[in-house]
């Protein structure tokens, strides 16, 4: 059927077409002007939620990076303080060795007494170090000087609590060392001699790896010696098994991923050399400890084990392989002997509960994947294996728990120097060795925190890049595409205008005479 083409019909069609062209042109101009793919909620509702989330995550990430900077102030300050303590102890050692030798005289003893006095004051200054008005060795009682001299004896006024800082969306870390560790007036310590971090298993959550620091979801690139290469997307993996399955499926068996034989990380086998690297500036391979190249056909990743928690199963701890089930230990404490049977324990929490219930006044703590026994007073205690299972040794708690008498040792040394008792001076020197060892362990612990901060910083910066990348994908316009679309929309609009002007100029009336 022929359509009656009336003027209003023509006008309706042409104006409609013009409006459509103009609307498209306007949309393209908005995109070109803002360089944003989305300029209104209606443009992409799903992306609106994603953009808000990415912006929120980026703001949080910035704050975590600020946290790291602030945490580093305390950790670095603690490092300097521990180094100063170590220097003071070195000076004390020189004095003790000098005055216990045959060349010591009563005159040199008198000089040494003054020197030790000065060193005590230096030590007090160091242990009362403040950062921005916070006493860093006071536990959580940060506005009170933790170490004060009272009647010739130094006492600790802080508490035993750690202060934690948030270093990521799922992780916090302790940044301080409560000062009671330097002063045996409150406790005796034993332990820390066995790494009890759990093994990496198929069921291990990827977010628990790296002592709880987690991983960066994304893609990795694998290349073997035959020139095969594979890009594997691990972003949807939740557990180690998921990640291994994704890798082995992608490589089709050409390169095989497994958990390493010592269960501390991942291992790859194939035709060497094997290279595993990041994809497009990602951080996935690094966070899984596999960003490396092997010389041969085996590539073993670094230690990415999770952190020990109370819920950690004993059976999952590599260093307890062959020691399970655990047996019995004996603790001598305050004149009593306690026999503790760990045979029913299946988790570290079970060990803690059993120990704490069995020995009054003592506590079992999990510190940085180690077990530490803490006596609630400065008296020594001993822990021995009570059966053939060698449980105390297996847990790294066999031996004598001694108070760290930093100032007590200095006071004893001073008294020995004043009396000229060379045997007492030697005893102080021996005790000094134990204290130096403790300080060394604390420096190691603090150094570990510095590395953790570096690691967290790297993860957060990678996360920042990834979030910005994802935000850009959701939000930013493709410049080339926008330029092309804009040009096309302009041409389309101009064509519409041209056609409209031509059509309106012609009608029958012009030809009637």
């Amino acid at each position: 059927m022929t359509i009656r083409v009336t003027d209003s019909y023509l006008s309706s069609i042409l104006v409609g077409d013009l409006n459509r062209s103009l609307s498209t042109l306007l949309q393209q101009q908005r995109m070109a002007g803002s360089m944003r793919r989305i300029n209104s909620f209606a443009d992409d509702p799903r992306a609106v939620g994603s953009i808000q989330r990415y912006n929120s995550l980026l703001a949080n990430n910035d704050q975590y990076l600020n946290n790291l900077t602030r945490s580093r102030i305390i950790v670095d300050g603690t490092d300097v303080a521990l180094q100063n303590i170590s220097d003071v102890l070195a000076d004390v050692r020189v004095i003790a060795l000098r005055e216990s030798s045959a060349i010591a005289t009563s005159q040199s003893n008198d000089t040494s007494v003054v020197e030790v006095d000065n060193l005590v004051h230096r030590m007090l200054d160091v242990l009362n170090t403040t950062i921005e008005g916070n006493y860093i060795f006071a536990g959580r009682d940060t506005n009170t000087p933790p170490f004060v001299s009272s009647n010739g004896t130094v006492v600790y006024q802080g508490d035993s609590e750690e202060i934690r800082s948030r270093t990521g969306p799922n992780s916090t870390m302790a940044v301080n060392i409560p000062g009671d560790v330097f002063l045996g007036s409150q406790s005796s310590l034993l332990g820390g001699g066995m790494d009890l971090a759990p093994e990496v298993q198929g069921t291990t959550l990827l977010s628990d790896l790296n002592t709880g620091g987690g991983w960066t979801p994304g893609r990795i690139f694998i290349e073997d010696g035959l020139g095969n290469n594979f890009e594997v997307d691990l972003s949807s993996s939740l557990t180690v098994a998921d990640a291994l399955l994704a890798i082995n499926t992608a490589t089709g068996g050409t390169v095989t991923a497994t958990i390493s034989s010592d269960s501390t990380g991942l291992e790859f086998s194939g035709t060497g050399p094997l290279t595993i690297s990041e994809v497009a500036g990602g951080n996935t391979a690094t966070s899984l400890g596999i960003n490396a190249t092997s010389e041969g056909g085996i590539l073993i990743g670094r230690d990415v084990r999770p952190r020990s928690e109370a819920s950690t199963n004993l059976a999952d701890i590599a260093n307890l392989n062959g020691s399970l089930p655990l047996g019995t230990i004996e603790v001598e404490w305050q004149g009593s002997t306690y026999t503790i049977d760990f045979s029913g324990a299946t988790t570290l929490g079970d060990l803690q509960a059993t120990f704490d219930a069995a020995v009054p006044g003592m506590q079992m703590q999990i510190q940085d994947s180690n077990i530490v026994l803490v006596g609630g007073s400065p008296e020594t205690f001993t822990v021995v294996n009570a059966d053939a299972t060698n449980t105390a040794s297996a847990l790294g708690i066999s031996g004598t728990g001694t108070p760290v008498r930093l100032f007590g040792m200095l006071e004893d040394l001073k008294a020995a120097l004043e009396s000229g008792d060379k045997d007492a001076i030697r005893n102080s020197a021996n005790e000094l060795a134990s204290i130096e060892n403790t300080i060394y362990q604390l420096m190691m612990k603090n150094g570990g925190r510095q590395k953790d901060l570096d690691w967290a910083d790297e993860i957060l910066r990678q996360r920042d890049e990834r979030l910005r990348g994802n935000l850009s994908l959701e939000y930013d316009a493709d410049v080339a595409q926008v330029a092309s679309d804009l040009s096309r929309a302009e041409a389309s609009y101009q064509a519409s205008l041209l056609v409209t002007s031509k059509l309106y100029t012609a009608n029958l009336m012009q030809y009637l005479r």
């Binding site: 359509i3 009656r4 019909y9 300029n39 209606a42 703001a59 949080n60 008005g133 959580r140 609590e161």
Partner: protein, 456 residues
């Protein structure tokens, strides 16, 4: 045998017919751009012939009437679709306002204020502790509360604007209904002799179409040419009598709200789609939905922050709530904390370095109070944004689709009822030729008369 006078009379009818055609063509051309105008057409019929012994002899042409070309089915459909378009447009406009109130895609005010609030807690929790940062927490909390109140006031303003528009549309609708009743009266009078009042009918149809933009209307045409209008199931126009609408305030679950009732019996009407119904829906569904979701966000924020803060203590306080209120407009910072930021608790003890509570509150930006996997305050707020965005998208899409439907129907209407200048030009030539030919016949008859006279 017909006489010359009879031939003259036949030619004269042709002249009149051509004149009528030319006049209608002129009328069509004159109204080519008149809104609502339907082109008109002259209906011709051959006059009844004279019956003579040798057959029926034609007596010329007769103008039977002038009709307007109109497709009632198309017009009715156009009105229904126009009603829907106006309804969707009203809701789309309201959602556009809601989007503006919430902010832009990359700068939603409340989302930023919440981020700042939680990050200020994060900074406060960060060792080495700096208690002066409690002022920052307080400032960010006040800013967040002000943002909630600001959004609440903006939504109040939006609702007030919508109600102003409802009032305006009711006034507009009443005016149109009254005009239709007046038109009915004029048409009834004009058509009493049986001739259709084409132009008046066009004007009335245009008014009814304008009414359909405000509310969907059913039309019932009576034999006397008048049209009854039925809105929301009620006959509002009967011949020349009209019932009007008015607004009133009635108590609802959400306080006193403007509703639409019929004048006189004050019966509340359940309007069909149209601009008026779209405005009511914007207020009662869209804006209310946003308000309820924001209330939930505020309530969750208050309950979760308070659940943690009441566990904390300072050297001079313990168990203090951080926020008061439980909705977007009642949320506020506890007046005691407002007066003294030192009462902000960072830990469960009064130790300066105890940051457990501050850490836990800062972590509410990541997870809910029930731990990993539970919904965080930000998640709930994000769900609101996505909901608003999805509604915006949905209504923008419906408006675009409906615009296409209406445009398509308008185009069809223009094809049927619109004036074509080409067509009118051709008609003009046709009527001119008819007129010329008829005049030639008259001239010839004149010559025949002259020949006859010369014979005398």
């Amino acid at each position: 045998m017909p006489g010359l006078n009879s031939i003259m009379d036949t030619s004269l009818s042709a002249l009149f017919a051509a004149q009528a055609g030319m006049a209608t063509t002129g009328h069509n051309i004159a109204n080519a751009n008149t809104p609502g105008y339907s082109r008109q057409d002259v209906m011709y019929s051959a006059r009844r012939p004279d019956i003579l012994p040798y057959g029926a002899l034609g007596r010329g042409v007769e103008v039977m009437g002038i009709r307007r070309i109109q497709d009632e089915f198309l017009l009715s459909n156009l009105r229904v679709q126009t009603s829907r378009l106006q309804s969707y447009t009203a809701v789309d406009s309201a959602l556009y306002e809601v989007e503006a109130i919430l902010g832009s895609v990359d700068n939603d005010h409340l989302g930023n204020a919440m981020n700042n609030f939680f990050n200020s807690w994060n900074a406060l929790a960060q060792p080495p502790m700096n208690t002066t940062l409690k002022q920052d927490v307080l400032a960010s909390a006040v800013s967040l509360v002000n943002d909630f109140h600001g959004v609440n006031e903006s939504l109040n303003d939006l609702e007030a604007n919508i109600e102003d528009n409802i009032q305006m549309e009711i006034t507009n609708l009443n005016g149109l209904l009254t005009e239709v009743a007046n038109m009915n009266e004029q048409i009834m009078a004009a058509e009493v002799n049986g001739e259709p009042a084409n132009d008046l009918r066009d004007q009335r149809d245009l008014l009814i179409t304008q009414i359909s933009e405000i509310a969907e209307v059913s039309v019932l045409e009576r034999e006397d040419g008048t049209k009854d209008l039925i809105l929301a199931g009620r006959t509002m126009v009967t011949r020349d009598s009209v019932t009007l609408f008015q607004s009133t305030y009635r108590q609802t679950g959400n306080g006193y709200q403007m509703t639409v009732v019929t004048q006189g019996n004050m019966m509340e009407v359940n309007l069909s789609p149209g601009r008026l119904q779209g405005l009511l829906s914007s207020r009662d569904v869209q804006v209310r939905n946003v308000r309820e979701q924001l209330d939930q966000v505020a309530a969750k924020l208050v309950s979760e922050v308070n659940a943690l803060h009441t566990q904390g203590r300072t050297s001079t306080s313990s168990g203090l709530s951080f926020f008061t209120g439980d909705s977007m407009h009642t949320i506020d910072v506890n007046s005691a904390i407002l007066a003294d930021a030192g009462l902000i608790a960072t830990g469960r003890t009064d130790a300066e370095g105890d940051n457990e509570i501050a850490l836990a509150i800062a972590n509410l930006s990541n997870v809910g109070l029930d731990g990993p996997g539970s919904e965080a305050v930000g998640d709930r707020y994000r769900a609101l944004l996505i909901d608003v965005a999805a509604n915006r998208r949905s209504f923008e899409f419906m408006v675009q689709n409906q615009q296409n439907v209406v445009a398509s129907l308008e185009t069809k209407m223009a094809s049927v009822s619109g004036v074509s200048l080409d067509e009118e030009g051709a008609n003009m030539v046709r009527y001119q030729n008819s007129y010329n030919a008829a005049a030639k016949v008259v001239s010839t008859v004149q010559e025949m008369y002259d020949a006859l006279m010369n014979m005398i």
